[in-house]
């Protein structure tokens, strides 16, 4: 029955004809609706079906008719009559029918359609129905097969045989350990077993966010709930959790945060902690917390899942919890030990010798025919090692045309990381050169060969230097086995170990748990906020050394998060809620006080994610030029702020062109997306803690109403796009090109053109959709973001100064002092000193690495006569976010800031000598000032400013928002203090010996007159003798006259003649007496102005208000001069002598 026989007006290909049939079969409420994907599929199927039928008819369909009756006749006697039709018809094989009688009757009733000649006749309808039946049958088979395949795969997992046992154990015991090796299916199956056996409200933790997403996806698919929300995930910025969610995958950190809110975790019935053997900090802590919780909540079920490593440890920690061990599913792997010969072993300073690695590649080429597929995964310790070996392998690959060499480490762009999953063309193998990221975090299928260098770079924390350290170590036997296992995931494999078997035997059995390696600040803070008592006595599975806990407690105390007795302060309990480093949390809190919250939010977010600046693009001149306008020589956080703001603008202007914008500048856009998400989370946190005013409620303007409506429409479209994207996901992997290997870096170059050139057209419409952009627009109000960005793009220099002060107060005590000889050193040899570590350098990615001059003291001021050597008012410090030692100790994310001013405003301990010509800050920075009297004034202003700042901050923290006027006044004064304080001084780092003998010590007879004098100078303070240092303690951080001053023992007793400018009193004064007199002798009408002039004596002008009385010792005269004039005067004497 082909269309040929039909009325020649009927044309199956005509859209009108099809539309008429659509009215019969694909109406609005039908199973398949016109316009849907199924509908499109049907018509495509229909064409194939017609062709098939035509073909069959041509090749003699007559036979059938004769055969069928014959064969159904010859029925065995005595057997049951099945009542089957005599004639075979394929339609009998379909268990579905489609009833459209109602429509058909209606059409016939009308009758008009037949006269139009173009309407479908009975035959057309029959043909269409038959095709539809076959189509339905076909799609039924497809779906059923998908389901059957899924069930089959589940049943063939090793863990499937333990299904009942697991459920039984969990029902009977509150804690169960399930130990199984790679490939046994525990992560996907155990939650499902529990779910289907009636448990509900199950949480399953994962160490990595990405695993939460992929597991939730997989498990919801497997449990046939792909489009529901029974299975969900929750990570930092994203959740698919709803009230219907019964099984939730979440990160360990997030579960800990939930415990902070809900100590009994009453929302969960079962907790599964996966990958416990990885021994992450959060996981170890979580186990400790859960161990206590199990005692309080006997109904709670806890399942620990681990590789088959050190299982006893976990079982014993939970009082002998039962262990269920499941075999893994790995193919056999041949291990070949190939120790590196001594002449090829790199000494510490040399580059790695790539020859042993090359030999493995050559060996594979010789031994295994290219038709036998299988890729190579090579484990090295770090990025430098990777690029050395990569270069050598690349040369070999270009020569042989048999390898595509790809690097894999976390500082690569995500697009580059993603390449390792692409497929090599036939006859070519991938050689992936990776850090230990491929050991657990990234799983690549198709690996047959593994090369293990046996080395790993691991972060450790040096509490003495307060420094993180990235050092190379031998791996553990457990890691070594894990690396080996990567060769046997998809078939038998080979593992080349570039060390001797005896080395292997000497390896530690397990890696050092993170809790023994890292700074515990955040952990201790969290423990405090969870009310877990003394962190030192908490029963960890493997307790960290007491000294690291002590270091953390001290640090938190220095940061003001803990008070002297070790209890949380107000700000401390707030910091514990923020999922960031303490220093960054402090910035956020400080930023919320002044009207600077938007830029602070951006900076805090930027400092909490990996840098968006790709390292590989740094040497690309085009990128460097494009990045130039983003750079700020104030410091890296300002560069990040500029970058973020410019990106937000670029997003608005070009709508979707931000991807290209980023590529031009060598930026990883993903990081910017993370920033914008994190920023929003911070904002919500600040708001929920009452630190931010609620968005202006006010009346809604028609303009605003229109915008909201537009936005709603846009959101609906975006949701549609996202749904489409989600459906298309799982698109097939790309095939790599030979030239794609190596360091070939797409960043900076226009990749789009490149791929067009090869004419591969690999980007389909679906892939071209920037899903990140869609998510971004769904989550954020772009207009608002742009307003915010443009507002913080052009900060006035005063706002910028205040912002800098906030950042530095946050970062304190992470400060570094430039070495005094830096001005005479090469750019690459600039060194800095921190309190605990001498000779640190600036990380090459920092703006100061390329522009160190801005940190030098301007030359014209240096060596001014009378100002003494090194005297200047322009000394600067670097505040930094991280100090990390790799081959050198590097500081990164630095801000420069005026030294004296910052120290007086933020440091915890300022000590002075009697005439205030010498200050020692935090026991390690010594400032020698030329003008003690002036200094005393500056200190007094600083004390006042700090007190006011603290008062307003405390009010803010107690949710009594200070008045805008007070805040404005304070911020004006802080800025003036920071920018316009003019005092000349030298600054240096004290040696260890010097800092030991700083203080005069307690004095038997404290000078009460001094105390009286100080009270006048520092109104509102009550100086008390300091019992340890000696001198007088004016405030918690300032102690006067406690420094022992061997060179000038009697300075504070020396009186000089002085005339008061107000009352003209002329008599000898000690500096302190003079200050006291000045403070009490202010003419009443001048008082408010006076207070500020102390910090404002900056602008050198001849105006009399800035002049003051100066007594010159050389000519023994009292002169009324401005500070500049004093300097000039001093210079005269210097020149004369």
């Amino acid at each position: 029955m082909t269309s040929m026989k039909m009325d020649d007006k009927w044309d199956w290909d005509s859209p009108q004809c099809r539309a008429q049939l659509d009215e019969v079969f694909f109406r609005q409420h039908d199973y398949i609706q016109a316009g849907s994907q199924d509908h499109k599929d049907f018509w495509a199927f229909f064409e194939r079906f017609q062709r098939f039928k035509a073909k069959k008819e041509m090749s003699g369909s007559k036979d059938n008719k004769y055969d069928d009756p014959k064969c159904s006749k010859s029925r065995k006697s005595g057997s049951l009559d099945l009542g089957l039709p005599k004639e075979y018809d394929a339609r009998y094989k379909i268990n579905i029918s489609v009833c459209t009688k109602d429509v058909e009757e209606k059409m016939e009733g009308c009758g008009y359609r037949r006269q139009t000649q173009s309407g479908p006749g009975k035959q057309e309808i029959t043909d269409c129905r038959l095709a539809l039946l076959h189509f339905l049958d076909f799609s039924q088979k497809q779906s059923f097969n998908k389901l059957a395949k899924l069930r089959h795969e589940q049943r063939s997992l090793p863990i499937f045989h333990y299904r009942d046992k697991i459920v039984e154990l969990v029902k009977a015991h509150s804690v169960v350990v399930v130990a199984g090796d790679t490939g046994c299916g525990k992560s996907t199956q155990v939650p499902q077993y529990l779910l289907s056996s009636g448990f509900t409200n199950i949480a399953c933790t994962q160490p990595r966010r990405i695993a939460c997403i992929s597991l939730a996806k997989r498990v919801s698919f497997e449990s046939l709930n792909q489009f529901g929300s029974k299975v969900g995930y929750q990570i930092r910025f994203e959740t698919t959790r709803t009230l219907a969610t019964k099984l939730l995958f979440l990160t360990e950190g997030l579960l800990l945060r939930q415990i902070q809110q809900d100590p009994l975790l009453s929302q969960y019935q079962v907790l599964i902690v996966d990958e416990v053997h990885e021994r992450h900090l959060h996981c170890d802590f979580l186990l400790g917390v859960l161990r206590a919780l199990v005692g309080v909540r006997p109904d709670l079920r806890l399942v620990l899942m681990s590789a088959t490593i050190n299982i006893k440890l976990f079982s014993e920690y939970f009082r002998g919890a039962p262990v269920l061990q499941v075999p893994g599913r790995l193919f056999p792997i041949q291990v070949i030990y190939q120790p590196i010969p001594p002449e090829e072993q790199a000494s510490r300073s040399e580059k790695l010798d790539p020859r042993p690695y090359l030999r493995v590649l050559q060996g594979i080429d010789q031994r295994y025919p290219t038709e036998e597929r299988g890729d190579l995964l090579l484990f090295l310790s770090g990025v430098a090692e990777i690029s050395t070996v990569l270069e050598a392998c690349q040369t070999y690959a270009t020569h042989t045309q048999r390898w595509i060499v790809l690097p894999l480490h976390s500082t690569l762009s995500l697009a580059q990381q993603d390449k390792v999953f692409d497929i090599a063309p036939p006859g070519v193998r991938k050689c992936i050169i990776s850090t230990n990221i491929a050991e657990t975090s990234v799983t690549i299928d198709g690996v047959r060969f593994v090369v293990d260098s046996g080395k790993v770079k691991e972060m450790s924390f040096d509490p003495k230097a307060k420094m993180q350290r990235l050092q190379e170590f031998w791996i553990s036997r457990a890691s070594s086995e894990q690396r080996k296992g990567r060769a046997g995931r998809t078939g038998p494999g080979v593992c080349y170990r570039l060390y001797a078997e005896s080395d292997y035997d000497a390896f530690a059995p397990y890696p050092v748990p993170e809790i023994h390696r890292v700074a515990l600040d955040s952990l201790v803070l969290q423990m405090k906020s969870m009310g877990l008592g003394d962190p030192g006595s908490f029963s960890f599975i493997d307790p960290p050394p007491a000294s690291s806990i002590q270091t953390a407690v001290t640090y938190l105390r220095e940061q003001g998060a803990l008070d002297v007795s070790g209890e949380l302060t107000t700000i401390g309990s707030l910091l514990a809620q923020l999922p960031v480093d303490v220093v960054i949390g402090k910035m956020l809190v400080l930023g919320s006080l002044f009207n600077l919250v938007e830029p602070v939010l951006t900076i805090a977010a930027a400092l909490s994610v990996q840098s968006p600046f790709l390292r590989s693009a740094q040497h690309n001149p085009d990128c460097a030029t494009a990045r130039q306008p983003l750079h700020s020589n104030q410091g890296d956080p300002f560069t990040l702020l500029n970058t973020f703001n410019a990106w937000v603008q670029a997003k608005g202007e070009r709508g979707g062109g931000s991807r290209k914008w980023c590529r031009r500048r060598g930026l990883e856009e993903q990081r910017l997306y993370e920033m914008v998400n994190l920023r929003r989370q911070f904002k919500e946190l600040l708001r929920s803690h009452g630190l931010l005013e609620e968005g202006s409620g006010g009346a809604v303007t028609p303009e605003e109403r229109r915008r909201r409506r537009d936005r709603l429409t846009e959101r609906q479209q975006l949701h549609q796009l996202k749904r489409q994207h989600d459906l298309q996901e799982g698109a097939r992997r790309k095939v790599l090109r030979l030239e794609e290997g190596g360091q070939g870096d797409s960043s900076g170059s226009d990749d789009d053109n490149a791929s067009q050139g090869t004419g591969k057209g690999k980007k389909t419409e679906g892939q071209n959709l920037d899903i990140q952009e869609v998510k971004f627009k769904l989550r954020h109000n772009v207009d608002q973001l742009q307003e915010v960005a443009s507002a913080s793009q052009d900060l006035s220099s005063r706002r910028q100064a205040l912002l800098k002060l906030l950042l530095c107060r946050g970062l304190y005590p992470q400060l570094a002092l430039p070495d005094e000889h830096n001005a005479t050193r090469k750019d690459s040899e600039q060194i800095f000193h921190t309190r605990n570590k001498q000779g640190v350098v600036i990380h090459p990615t920092s703006v100061f690495a390329s522009d160190p001059e801005v940190l030098h003291v301007p030359e014209q001021e240096d060596g001014q006569p009378g100002a003494g050597k090194g005297q200047s008012g322009r000394h600067q410090l670097l505040a930094f976010v991280t100090l990390l030692e790799t081959n050198k100790p590097y500081v990164s994310n630095c801000v420069r800031v005026p030294a004296l001013q910052l120290l007086l405003l933020v440091s915890n301990c300022v000590d002075s000598n009697g005439d205030c010509t010498r200050l020692v800050v935090d026991g390690w920075l010594e400032l020698c000032l030329s003008d003690g009297e002036r200094t005393l004034g500056v200190v007094s202003t600083a004390l006042e400013l700090r007190a006011e700042w603290e008062r307003l901050l405390q009010a803010q923290l107690c949710k009594r928002r200070p008045s805008a006027r007070d805040l404005q006044h304070l911020s004006d004064r802080l800025v003036r203090f920071l920018l316009y304080t003019e005092v000349n001084y030298t600054i240096r780092r004290l040696t260890a010996l010097q800092s030991q003998n700083l203080y005069v010590g307690p004095q038997s007879d404290p000078t009460t007159s001094d105390a009286q004098a100080l009270k006048t100078i520092f109104p509102g303070w009550d100086p008390q003798p300091d019992p340890i240092k000696g001198g007088l303690r004016v405030s918690s951080y300032f102690t006067y006259n406690c420094l022992s001053d061997p060179s000038d023992l009697y300075s504070e007793c020396l009186r000089t003649f002085w005339t008061c400018p107000h009352c003209a009193l002329y008599m000898p004064f000690t500096p302190l007496e003079r200050m006291q007199h000045q403070a009490s002798c202010k003419p009443p009408e001048e008082q408010p102005a006076q207070e500020e002039s102390e910090s404002e004596t900056a602008a050198p002008s001849s105006s009399s208000s800035l002049s003051r009385l100066y007594h010159c010792d050389i000519c023994d005269k009292d002169l009324t001069l401005t500070s500049t004039e004093i300097l000039k005067h001093k210079r005269q004497h210097a020149v004369a002598s």
Binding site: D30, D38, D67, L80, I96, S143, L147, K230, T242
Partner: protein, 120 residues
């Protein structure tokens, strides 16, 4: 969201031959929201979990007309020819089936691995 997950689970469907076990959401000949579609046998039906549409369904299986065993629709377990027959019953009564069916079964026996990749 949960609404799109479709019908409530009515029970477990388990194939008595291959052991395939999965929940079903409807039993009968007229799955919900399918309008013109009618099933020609009383079937265990599951809302299609792989489709976003709430109306889409999968027929999981039904009872063999001869032995009344509950079997899945997989080609290794049963076939439909005007009625549902489990394969053992088909073999038993093979002579009553048209030659096309017999040929199909014979083909399957000779190369079972290629007929249904899902059942390997």
């Amino acid at each position: 969201m949960e609404a799109s997950a479709g019908g409530t689970v009515r029970g477990m469907f388990t194939c008595e031959l291959c052991g395939l076990a999965t929940p079903f959401t409807y039993f009968g000949q007229k799955p919900p929201n399918t309008r013109a579609i009618v099933l020609l046998e009383e079937s265990y039906v599951l809302k299609d979990p792989f489709s976003h549409d709430r109306e889409k369904f999968i027929v999981l299986g039904s009872s063999c007309t001869v032995c009344h065993k509950v079997v899945c629709v997989g080609t290794e377990c049963s076939l439909f020819y005007t009625k549902r027959f489990c394969l053992p019953c088909v073999r038993e009564n093979l002579d009553q089936f048209p030659q096309q069916i017999q040929a199909e079964l014979a083909k399957k026996k000779s190369a079972p691995l290629h007929t249904d990749p899902a059942k390997r």
